[in-house]
Amino acid sequence: MAYLELNNVSKHFGGAPVLKDINLSVEKGEFVAIVGFSGAGKTTLISLIAGLLKPGHGSLTLNDLEITGPGPDRGIVFQNYSLLPWLTVFENILLAVEAVNPNWSAAKRTEHVEKYIAMVNLTPARNKLPSELSGGMRQRVSVARALAMDPQILLLDEPLSALDALTRATLQDEISRIWSENKKTVLMITNDPDEGILLADRIIPLTAGPGATLGPEITIDIPRPRDRKAINHDARFKKIRRELIAFMLDSKSERHTSVTKKLILPDIEPEDLERPPRIFSGRPKPKRAGEIKEETVAI
């Protein structure tokens, strides 16, 4: 049996299901990415695994134990960092370490926290408050906090979505490095296909909601370490990228039910506001270029 296993999981809030028939298995030490549109139910999926939500149907197991609630065996990195604003970098991480290891000595805890601050290159900023840090640095704290609890699985919920492209690239490289040093099991959720391909061993598309489900998985057989520039030359990268994006866009367009609507576009020319028309007697008429266009659009 796989390390993390989801069997026919569905979830609905009231009416239509958000997630339907989700089947997923993640092996120990694997890096799996799930790619989906905004609003497809990605965060619902991660909340189910984190134990923050209960499934409507189906079962979730981690290491052969059923997931019934949140626990320190799953470390989560949220998109919005979720740091305590009145605590410094060090204190934010210490809080998590204390909760998980209450019987450690103070010295051991401090040493442990320092180790993870160093891992995300934040030692110079260890005494700063979150408000004094940039978005990228805050997310590093969040990653360090999740790792410091030494979880069995790391859940990344769009960890880099709020960051600009450059910071995003730097942190992707950092996540990749940390993962190869720790070999933790990682499940990442993202809306960026390129990010998923660069980091993961396997990538699974989540179809557009409502009633989102997982599409066919794609194994990424590109050797590591992967260089974001060199990867562009790789035929496997091009193929995976093409397939994945095509699948995603198709799954979205299938959602558009083919209700056709007849539209009329009057073929009139805009008026030149800088040169008002000469005053004729009566109301000025618009210039017409041709006949009225009619079009039927599927919406």
């Binding site: 296909p193 866009l249 805009p270 000025p284 618009p286």
Partner: protein, 287 residues
Amino acid sequence: MSDHVELSNLTKIYPTPKGEAVIVKDFNLRIKKGEFVTLIGHSGCGKSTVLSMLAGLSEISDGSIILAARELDGAGPDRGVVFQSPSLLPWLTAFENVMLGVNQVFYTADKTERREIVEYYLTVVGLGDAMHKRPAELSQGMRQRVGIARAFALKPKMLLLDEPFGMLDTLTRYELQQVLIELWRKNKITALMVTHDVDEALFLSDRIVCMTDGPAAEVGEIMDVHFPRPRERKTVFEHPDYYKLREQLIEFLEVRAHRKHPTATPTPPAGPSAGAAAVSPVETVST
């Protein structure tokens, strides 16, 4: 075909306490009617400054802009602008936001026709069901759709797009690019877009103008993109030249954009295959 838009020796200088800051210097570009041209470059290189001058939102320090045989002076509804943030009026519905401009430009038309215009454009951008919602009730992607509809509804002579999808996630961006390209193809509007997204530039443009880093940014290289139209994401990705052009653009942005005055011609791509796409040699604008 004659040139629809002509930017001649366009220069932008801001006075500062330490003297003049030259942002854009002697920028020359000609755009044909119905062409889709993209300006690509690093943040802060001055590409948005060029676009704002064209929109009439920023004063021209030196040089001139001619649009449809008329020299530009100030902003006007003959240029439709799509901004990075949708810039909608929050107290008006999507319909009313678009109607605001339509009422101005089509004041001679009757009410029914004006309503038909607004409904047409909001429906083709995919907001048929949501046109009477306020911006707060719409997602970021939907708001940007309203921005696109608003620009096209005025039937402008030129479309100016300032990183129109910069705030959206990758997949939503792909969707909206398809919406934009369809509308552009139907309306045959000359378009100038500013972006730093390489995939976006390749998918949409006829020509990509690479700008060197500022200050005193200028035209670095011009790349012709010959993927057949109408374009679809899948077929463009599968085009044999797609990744070659993509690499070239990335390489330009990472290496050559930083060089102030390119002197040597970079090696052209090994054997432009089947005449599908080729890169013109460096077009250096001497200063």
